[in-house]
Symmetry: C2
Subunit: 434 residues, 2 copies
Amino acid sequence: LLGVGTVGAAVARRLLAGGEPLARRVGRPLLLRHVLVRDPARRRSFQIPSSILRTDVGVILNDDETSIVVELIGGVDDARRLTFDAVRAGKDVVTANKALLAVHGREIFAAARSAGRCVTFEGAVAGGIPLIEAIRRGLAANRIDAVYGILNGTCNYILTRMIDNGASYAHALGEAQRLGYAEADPTTDVSGLDAAHKLAILASLAMGRCCDLDRIAVKGISDIDLIDLTAAAELGLVCKLLAIARRHGGDISLAVEPRFIPRSHPLAAVSGPFNAVSVYGDLIGHCLFYGPGAGGDATASAVLADILDVASGNAAKTFAAEGVLWDQTPAATYAPAGEDASPHYIRVGLVDRPGGIAQIATILGNAGISIASIIQHESPYQQASDPVPVVVTTHPARQRDVRAAVTRFGELKEVLGAPVCIPVLEKLGPGGGK
Amino acid sequence: LLGVGTVGAAVARRLLAGGEPLARRVGRPLLLRHVLVRDPARRRSFQIPSSILRTDVGVILNDDETSIVVELIGGVDDARRLTFDAVRAGKDVVTANKALLAVHGREIFAAARSAGRCVTFEGAVAGGIPLIEAIRRGLAANRIDAVYGILNGTCNYILTRMIDNGASYAHALGEAQRLGYAEADPTTDVSGLDAAHKLAILASLAMGRCCDLDRIAVKGISDIDLIDLTAAAELGLVCKLLAIARRHGGDISLAVEPRFIPRSHPLAAVSGPFNAVSVYGDLIGHCLFYGPGAGGDATASAVLADILDVASGNAAKTFAAEGVLWDQTPAATYAPAGEDASPHYIRVGLVDRPGGIAQIATILGNAGISIASIIQHESPYQQASDPVPVVVTTHPARQRDVRAAVTRFGELKEVLGAPVCIPVLEKLGPGGGK
């Protein structure tokens, strides 16, 4: 076991205290022989026997009795080096490191394969939810057309608190930090990058194409304004940061972005730090997986499942045979951005003067975008000089057409401030009318 | 392949037309060599080459080139005999037959084990949702404390239509029959028996104890009255037929019954013919699996996943090693019925005369049951002689205490008709304050 942070400590605790039911599953004992730490003297919430604490990874990699290395140190560079060293030393590797696999997955899988070892990573996406397994095995007979969901618990917690408590983004973020749901530097989470790492893994697996992290259009939640969450709530819409991968014929589109979703969609009920992922397969249709997306014990549940799968020999067979990991699949080709049609939520601030709404309606009409509703949101605290927020929802329209129209709103003298434009999720099958 | 009903036809279609991506998953071709039918001349929506149609199962079982038998004939007696014959003939068996495994699972698994074969059954519970796999593998490191959910799409469709459209039970059932969601004789579904079959399988697996179908307290939906669905909607509650297995220390409780659940619970959003199952594990906490619970293609997705799992050799390893199937686990012991505490929804019809509500409140108070709300539901169409429906919700109270109190309501001269009493689901960990 390399690293004993929150997840590592939970894995060690179960292996040391509750190993017997685990051993029974695979018909052989599971022994935790080595735990790599930086500082053996450091006090930990969970006390690991000093006899198995190591500071030199060489001791671990040279031990022929050790067959599985569990990489939980996080980060990319050290983890990459240790993973390479482990497979070359003849160990199978279990990891929960999404950044590592999103960036270096292809070379890591190839190195493991040429060493005759396997790498498993159930804990890298959606915490404890057995989603990777579902896509690789339970849904293996399907052509998967879309996979999308809530992959970052920090963002979902913040958005949930804003919606439920009318909190500002800054306030909700502060609360998430106090509760341990957000880190002191929340950038990786709120920028959408963490969700993008997970999407790169998930999409590569689901689509059978190696998806490039850099080809994901990433937008975070830090610009989300409470006014839009409130206005959308009146329309029966809830805001979620969604990671979306979709098949368009032979091409794939990838995005991480805030979306409104109808309250009746199963993803709308996913609140707080939970994760959930919808999968559309050509046989199964729509299915969804929900659970804790982070946390020591929940992620340990996934890591331990991988350990059992490796110990039983099943992981090696799957790794060798299935041919869906991205060292064995072609690079993805990408659909042009913005081709998808969705309903949209648009908010513009209008000067309180006749004709503004007509101008907006004209621009949308000329672009062939059909309006579903217009609501003028006057506030009792409105000053005469304040812009009047006007919320427009559209019928399904091509995203790039809507964005182009909204850009034109910004040029109107009746419009104050930057318009807001957020697509609304409908249930997704294969993309773009193909 | 034994049987080409809806599911069998979908399995055959994919094996015959799209076998190459499947073969790639396991590194060997998958050939559909025999299809057992009653009448080879019958016209089918999906045409199977006559060269592989068989009417004599002996031809199939004696073919050494056939290694997997897929049992999709349904029913219990013939399916049992064919399954026994298949494992004794050295075939692995894939089945989606929940009644078969709920009733004869123990002897079937034992027979397969002594023949050195395996039996898989992903399609037997929750249609296409890869739930069996999740419990056996993805959540294998957890002690599972509760598993409950919506396991019968017919009942869920009927309840959804009653709630959303204000339809009566009889009307919604008729509609379900017209759409093919309910059979001409809907008894197995609406009585809760179908959900009980699935619960026996799911609970045996999740709890690691052989659970007896006869020990499930089963109540169906045919008594559900629209008035209660409407009244509960005002309280933010939705009615679902739930199958519930819960661990109470070393004991287990099993029930299939209508329950109200809060609109905020993820199961509340499961509408129409969909299934969803919540699982509570000691590591993962709460997770949930959602998807189509029936249908040819969706169930074929599960059956084909099993076929791949058997063909890859993984299923045999899991079957041999894990020790959780109920030929290898002890018989369950059962918690006394009604020990669980839940909030309750109660409706009584009162004569329109002072004192009725006081009598009810007194009975509840004397039983130590705390009232959360009382709503008197007067209707504009109420006749003076009609009973006034009064809806009481309680704080969490032991189910048998509440039932005893409600029985006493029936003895009051102020009460007309039989009172209705439906427990409200809260999120479930391990049972009963243990």
